[in-house]
Amino acid sequence: MLFGFPLLSLIIWLPIFFGLAVLATGGDRNAQAARLIAISGSVLGFLVAIPLYLQFDPSASTMQFAEKHVWVERFNIFYHLGVDGISMPLILLNCFTTPLVVMAGWEVIRERVSQYMGAFLIMSGIVNGVFASLDAILFYAFWEASLIPMFLIIGIWGGPNRVYAAIKFFLYTLLGSLLMLVAFIYLYYVSDGSFSILDFHKLPLPIEPQILIFIAFLLAFAVKVPMWPVHTWLPDAHVEAPTGGSVVLAAILLKMGGYGFLRFSLPIVPDASQQLAGLMIVLSLIAVVYIGLVAIMQADMKKLIAYSSVAHMGFVTLGFFLFNAYGIEGAMVQMISHGFISGAMFLCVGVLYDRLHSRQIADYGGVVNSMPVFAAFFMLFAMANAGLPGTSGFVGEFMVIMGAVKVNFWYAFFAATTLIFGAVYTLWMYKRVIFGAVASPAVEGLQDISKREFAVLAILALAVLWMGVYPFPITEVMHATVDELLAHVANSKL
């Protein structure tokens, strides 16, 4: 380990610095410069994150790469960073996604290029901050800050109904997180003046406040994930967001909610978590079954993938509240895999949208005739979305189902319906868009993917296949942390 080297700070602030540099290029006269700075910044951001994986000690369950400096002395607020086996993979996922998003928007975005690229880089740094913060106020600052770039991305580069979607997204998530701040302040007083998340973990609490805190956290995280029934902002946000926005939203921002459950709800209020586990599992299963069904009849491709995202995230929350290693590690794997797959699915829709400017399934048909290479990539990602073994989509679902059956056969039963519904909505859409006779002269004239699009999709395809065939390295870094978490949750705090 690079002792004392502030690696996490670098990972957080390097993209933000580059983002500001991109913004500084100004108007679209310098668009090419903005793109070049953005791609170098994001690739550099990924490169500096690699030592995080290589030098991570998988056998330790403590926080690694820790940094701690006083921030606001009066309130005991620290600039305190550190990662464990739960946050480290998510930071890697985020750093991995950013260059792809920059590449995906390369020549598609022609207006306010510097602001678009800058927003993504800044958001990338902020999200790294969310995952690395060990101080509640620092966490809260990053958490809320992450809303702003996404609000702008949807509101400026979005579709026709972008203002409604942006405001819905902003209010929904902001209202959710306000109660979380209240909970932090309560915990600050109970803990005799500490905002350290690790102190919160050790804090004994009676059951009533635990339940109230759980509900406060739940509102914040459930909106982010999103869980049924607070999911309705997501389809709207996805439909209006530009492709890059959708990718980051699905691949990264939703994971903040999942991460919140693991970092806050489970360890801080373990007794309430266990008491309310039944409710959480039922909500998760509703997400899997109900949302899976709703996805089937969607006519808009992006809406369909958005609903499929909600259904897949249902596996994440289901896995958390099973309180066994299969469930929690499976949920983590599902989060990372969903980052690849949903990102790739939105990119595929983006490829079509850039050409025909329609997301309606009915406007397509027979795309394979003019875009065979694209069709092959889309097939792979569609199959991954349907949870085919050998792709990353299978691994997490498999682990969570194995964990669920240990708790209750019927949990596994309802969770496993995704095998059917996931295949129905994904492959039915694929059939109507890609197969069949050529639907229109416009479809006939489609150009197959460019080298740039090929590169982005190929990188994701390799990630999806690699994780499906050999998920061992990813889960290996989680074991110690997850075991520690499970042992911690099993100890009552009453």
Binding site: Y172, M383, P389, V405, L427, F435
Partner: protein, 649 residues
């Protein structure tokens, strides 16, 4: 030897990747050369391994660790024993023949390289499935062959029927896999491992464990697991009521109908149950279910085959019925007979399909038998190989199908599992029906007067050698594979791989009467199946050669029954109305009502409206007019004074 094990699946995988990713650059000829040689490598390796296994060298070991979670290691590994070695030889042999046949069949197709890539990928997946030593890899292979089947049924992706059929196939299989995955989950939960050997060795301790899935009704754990696993087998091996995808899968090119939808993939369910014999032997309930499902599939699908006119569909329904035979054999604990029939069926059904394909090429892609006739003199090799396969299929003594089918029927006769009477009736009655529809196919297609138009007739000729060679090669085991019944079914060939409990000793009893293949043939002359089979062939000859005017009259006379069979018992209509339509309606209802009306309309936008309404209300108090404020003050003061005065009363 372990390198050889790896070579068997990896060689075709390399071929698939080469033809799939680089097919454009290396061209058509090199694509088929590379894939065919690599499948040939796989076949040679399989044969070497097969003889090595005969010498007693079995293997069970892991290749790499896929995942570790909780206290479980999930590994990818191989189990090489008599069962897997037999399957490996059958799969690679049929696959190689189909690869060669494809050169001729797909000659003019623009998707030539893609097709070779898919069938090689299939060979890889199927090998992973049969060579697996654990349930996880089994499931991987299971779904991977399903994927390739999906890709190949929809190979001609501009045809609406093809892309309907492939979606249907994948989804129906997913219903089966749903059960299968839950079965695997229960195994992991109760046995703590997914490794075959470890699971099988602890079955006896688990035999009496029970579970209450619904409060008040207690089930044996093994029974629940077996039924769930069998649901998976019902999907893959197309057993009633999950059989509906197989006939439609005929939309795919004929070589894959032979390879995937007859000889190999659809038998994966049979293979799986045989592999799981140590589990199934502990659950009579599951065995009974298997017998009943198998019996229904055997008889009722055979009946449908009699009225079909599409040559491929006749063979497809015949496949369903033959799979039913294998399933019945499993239910009767005659696992070795099931695997034996799987093997002989792979050969004779591959010949029937490839022969049908040869006919279809000659007929310029006409598949309706009523427009054929008299093809015998134009296509002698196709005719004679198909004739041999028909004899095997009908169970005429001496041909491979006779031995395997007779063993199944006799074993069912000896079995004592509840439900066996029904299954026995079904398999017996089907002997007649099988002979009838098989020879109907042969007679209508190859004999009688030519019914095609003159243009087609002038161009009729035998197919090129790449098509006929596989037919001839596969015709040899179609005749001879049955002669190994002694060691394979009654001997101890499968004794390490298949477990039969001492109570279910049908095969053992049957084996006691076995006196060699000659004796078996002699004995058959005095049993009902033989005469039923002859009667079937005779009826076909009478109806379709001697008096071709009669079938039309029978059809008119029994019109309701004919319609029922022709419409396949209306099962497809029911499914598309009830399941597909029901799901769409439910989906639309949940979306339009649940999401849009209740959640978004009432709660989300409702909250926004309440906020707006409150704001409107509060705004009224701040009009900005001084006389409004003055008036409010006067009213307030008046009230306060009233209350103040009221105090002194």
């Amino acid at each position: 030897m372990q390198t050889l094990y790896l070579l068997v699946p990896l060689a075709p995988l390399i071929g698939a990747i080469t033809a799939g990713l680089f097919g454009r650059f290396i061209g058509r000829t090199w694509s088929h050369r590379i894939t065919i040689s690599l499948v040939f490598v796989s076949l040679i390796a399989s044969i070497v391994i097969f003889f090595d296994v005969l010498d007693g060298n079995t293997f069970n070991g892991s290749v790499y660790t896929w995942l570790v979670t909780g206290d479980t290691r999930f590994e990818i590994g191989f189990l090489i024993d008599q069962l897997s070695a037999t399957m490996m030889v059958v799969v690679s042999l049929v696959s190689l023949m189909v690869h060669i046949y494809t050169i001729g069949y797909m000659h003019d197709d623009p998707g030539y390289q893609r097709f070779f890539s898919y069938i090689s990928l299939f060979t890889f997946s199927m090998m992973m499935l049969v060579m697996s030593n654990n349930f996880l890899q089994l499931f991987f292979g299971w779904e991977a062959v399903g994927l390739v089947s999906y890709l190949l049924i929809g190979f001609w992706y501009t045809r609406p029927t093809a892309i309907y059929a492939n979606l249907k196939a994948f989804l129906v299989n997913r219903v089966g896999d749903f059960g299968f995955l839950l079965g695997i989950a229960l195994i992991l939960m109760y046995f703590g491992t997914l490794d075959y050997a470890a699971v099988f060795s602890s079955v006896p301790q688990m035999a009496n464990e029970s579970v209450e899935l619904v409060t008040g009704s207690s089930w044996l754990v093994i029974t629940v697991i077996c039924i769930l696993l069998f649901i998976g087998a019902m999907g893959k091996s197309a057993q009633f009521p999950l059989h509906v995808w197989l006939p439609d899968s005929m939309e795919g090119p004929t070589p894959i109908s032979a390879l995937i939808h007859a000889a190999t993939m659809v038998t994966a369910g049979i293979f799986m149950v045989a592999r799981m014999s140590p589990l199934f032997e502990h659950s009579e309930t599951a065995l009974t279910l298997i017998l009943i499902i198998g019996g229904i599939t055997t008889l009722f699908m055979a009946l449908v085959a009699v009225v079909q006119n599409d040559i491929k569909r006749v063979v497809a329904y015949s496949t369903l019925s033959q799979l039913g035979y294998m399933t019945v054999a499993l239910g009767a604990s005659a696992y070795s007979a099931a695997i034996f029939h799987l093997m002989t069926h792979a050969f004779f059904k591959a010949v029937l399909f490839l022969g049908a394909g040869s006919v279809i090429i000659a007929m310029h892609h006409e598949q309706n038998m009523q427009k054929m006739g008299g093809l015998k003199k134009y296509m002698p090799i196709t005719y004679w190989t198909m004739f041999i396969a028909a004899l095997a299929s009908a169970g005429v003594p001496g041909f491979s199908g006779f031995f395997s089918k007779d063993a199944i029927i006799e074993a069912v006769g000896f079995a004592n599992i509840p439900g066996v009477e029904f299954a026995y009736f079904c398999v017996l009655a089907t002997v007649f029906v099988t002979a009838l529809y098989t020879f109907r196919l042969v007679f209508v297609t190859f004999h009688g007067k030519p019914r095609m138009d003159t243009h087609t007739r002038e161009h009729l000729h035998e197919s090129p050698w790449v098509v006929t060679l596989p037919l001839v090669v596969l015709a040899i085991p179609t005749i001879a594979a049955g002669w190994f019944i002694g060691p394979m079914v009654f001997g101890d060939y499968f004794s390490n791989a298949i477990y039969v409990s001492s109570q279910h000793d049908a095969i053992e009893q049957l084996g006691a009467t076995f006196t060699g293949i000659g004796g078996m043939m002699m004995h058959a002359l005095s049993t009902i199946p033989f005469w039923l089979s002859l009667a079937g062939i005779f009826t076909a000859w009478f109806l379709y050669i001697l008096r071709p005017d009669i079938p039309g009259k029978i059809k008119k006379w029994m019109l309701p029954i004919h319609t029922l069979l022709d419409r396949k018992y209306y099962i497809d209509e029911f499914y598309s109305w009830f399941f597909a339509g029901g799901t769409r309606a439910l989906s639309k209802g949940l979306w339009k009502f649940g999401d849009i009306k209740v959640i978004d309309g009432f709660f989300v936008n409702g909250t926004a409206r309440v906020v707006a309404w409150t704001a409107m209300l509060v705004r009224r108090f701040q009009t900005g007019y001084i006389y409004h404020y003055a008036f409010t003050m006067i009213v307030g003061v008046f009230i306060l004074i009233t209350l103040w005065l009221y105090q002194f009363k």
